[in-house]
Symmetry: C3
Subunit: 263 residues, 3 copies
Amino acid sequence: MKLISLLTDFGDKDNFVGMMKAVILKINPQAKIVDLCHQIKPQGLEEAAFLLAHSFRYFPEGTIHLVVVDPGVGTKRKKILVKTKNYYFVAPDNGVLSATLKLEKPQKIIEITKEKYFLKPVSNTFHGRDIFAPAAAYLSLEEKPESFGKKISKIKELNLPKPHKSKNALSGQIIYIDRFGNLITNIKKASFNRLAKKSFFKIYCGSAVITKISRGYVGGKATAPKALFNSFGNLEIAAPNNSAQKTLSLNRGDTIRVKAQPL
Amino acid sequence: MKLISLLTDFGDKDNFVGMMKAVILKINPQAKIVDLCHQIKPQGLEEAAFLLAHSFRYFPEGTIHLVVVDPGVGTKRKKILVKTKNYYFVAPDNGVLSATLKLEKPQKIIEITKEKYFLKPVSNTFHGRDIFAPAAAYLSLEEKPESFGKKISKIKELNLPKPHKSKNALSGQIIYIDRFGNLITNIKKASFNRLAKKSFFKIYCGSAVITKISRGYVGGKATAPKALFNSFGNLEIAAPNNSAQKTLSLNRGDTIRVKAQPL
Amino acid sequence: MKLISLLTDFGDKDNFVGMMKAVILKINPQAKIVDLCHQIKPQGLEEAAFLLAHSFRYFPEGTIHLVVVDPGVGTKRKKILVKTKNYYFVAPDNGVLSATLKLEKPQKIIEITKEKYFLKPVSNTFHGRDIFAPAAAYLSLEEKPESFGKKISKIKELNLPKPHKSKNALSGQIIYIDRFGNLITNIKKASFNRLAKKSFFKIYCGSAVITKISRGYVGGKATAPKALFNSFGNLEIAAPNNSAQKTLSLNRGDTIRVKAQPL
């Protein structure tokens, strides 16, 4: 029995997610469905790409990751199905899979075109219900990827911001802010360590300067912001029992700089 | 194995939905439960009626649709179970099913009165947990509808707003606004086409005038509002990658007019 | 097949809950998971303790209640597994279980220490994913509680506010406000009845004085606030089809007084 995970920007205000689940279960009553996240901000491709890349590996092998963040719905953007060593992905071809597929190489990329798998009539506004959910459902019934259309060789890339490195500094960006107001940057532990492991370092984030890496969220002066490597391996700025976003007045896209000074 | 769908105004802030699921699974551990929507605004009968009528058909045959939007909880309003050709519905008799039962004729309407199916003690404030969830759960165990009480012949009707038609015009209302700020009207495609198919037409929505029907959300001048028929078959006003609600300052209940002028 | 319920302060904005479910299903693909609530305010131990104590009994016997409200994540606070007559609980040892375990006596308390059940590497910031979810998953595979670590004899207590009683009065607190704006107090029905059953009484809540107990939310003068005993057996102040929180301008922690005057 295959698992289907759902990642969308549909929120929970409407019936969109419920209808996708209905369609899946009508095709495969045995399907098991898990919500990964539905609160991606409308059309938030970068946010969805980030969450998927940091989540997909935690699922059982064979999981079908169904991703519907689809600002181009109804246009000529492709619908794709990707098979990797351990997972399947079903999504619009708009770059939302690109960060993930750098971590888990595609073995097959199929353009979904076979109309026999579509829910008819196909609307121009809700391919999540009419094309993507049915594709994931038929895939969970062991339908072969090749049945859904022809192989293609490339997917669209998303241009995600990367940290800028110089000899004594690293300049990254806040790429995600979680419910707790923790500021997650695109600076990875390995990259930070290459710069700062054998040096004094200063992390500049808004009005704060942080000079050490903490092990976790709690401990030390209660109100001072902390820097730590989070459960994804990214540099994160946190305020103990508080929102770093609010206390530092920082937002997605803002710069976090690390400067090193040899010991 | 029967599926149970849940549609309520309980939101996700509290434990209400979780308790209903607990009660269902205590009675039928094999039950499969799908959330249709829980963010109906408190006591929002019209909104719930709209979402149900546009969703129920996507579920597998035999699905039990459990609807708890229940401003009259604890009063003498009836609790009903309705069997149609393809589905079951369990809900308070307050009109929330009436739009749906115009699309799918009731075969049996049962007033739920048999206390042996209630969770005791029955509270006066949470019949979702104490009466409706148990009824759906026992129904999913193949209990016969007649076991729950006596047949009745009528359900309460909800007075939903209908478009006003004149010779050269159609005047509808915004009846639902989704997460993306799309404005969904009660003007159906067939009705629009009878008026406007062989004519020039103008759609008046707030400060905007729209003179064509688009195929989808994207394309054309990026910021101009668009009119299209959505995945429910209703006339919808959308702003590409933006909220039409915000850009047009329109709200639920506001009027959308279509005027036709012969070619 | 055991059921796992989830109660967290993770909200739905991020992928935290989805990842916990992924980890559970990777260990036990047959696990059945029910969301009790994820919208506990960040670090809201009292709120979580209240919801759990009023919900756990509605679940099937044998349910594993997984509670992750964990302000001390990464510190030396213990991770515990508690077995009672009918249920299992997996949580940080921070008092979040204490109200529940007054209603359902612990038979065994185990400190979770056996690393073979952890997801490696264990982060310092997300024990929900790395320790608690795996523990619940292995427990659902019939692993014995003793396998997870050594027995301990005590858990941490949470100091929950209690009503203050005097001869002719009872002074309680608003301990929870639900989605509908209903004000739930810590005054229990039995306690109220001992004071007020054979007396006139007045309930003072903000600017309002209420002199009777209603059966439910509806009926009587449409706008007057009502007092009733809710589905948990607590005294609750409600405004018919309205938010009592807004109409009375009251909040969590505010005092509700009951005064009795002999007949």
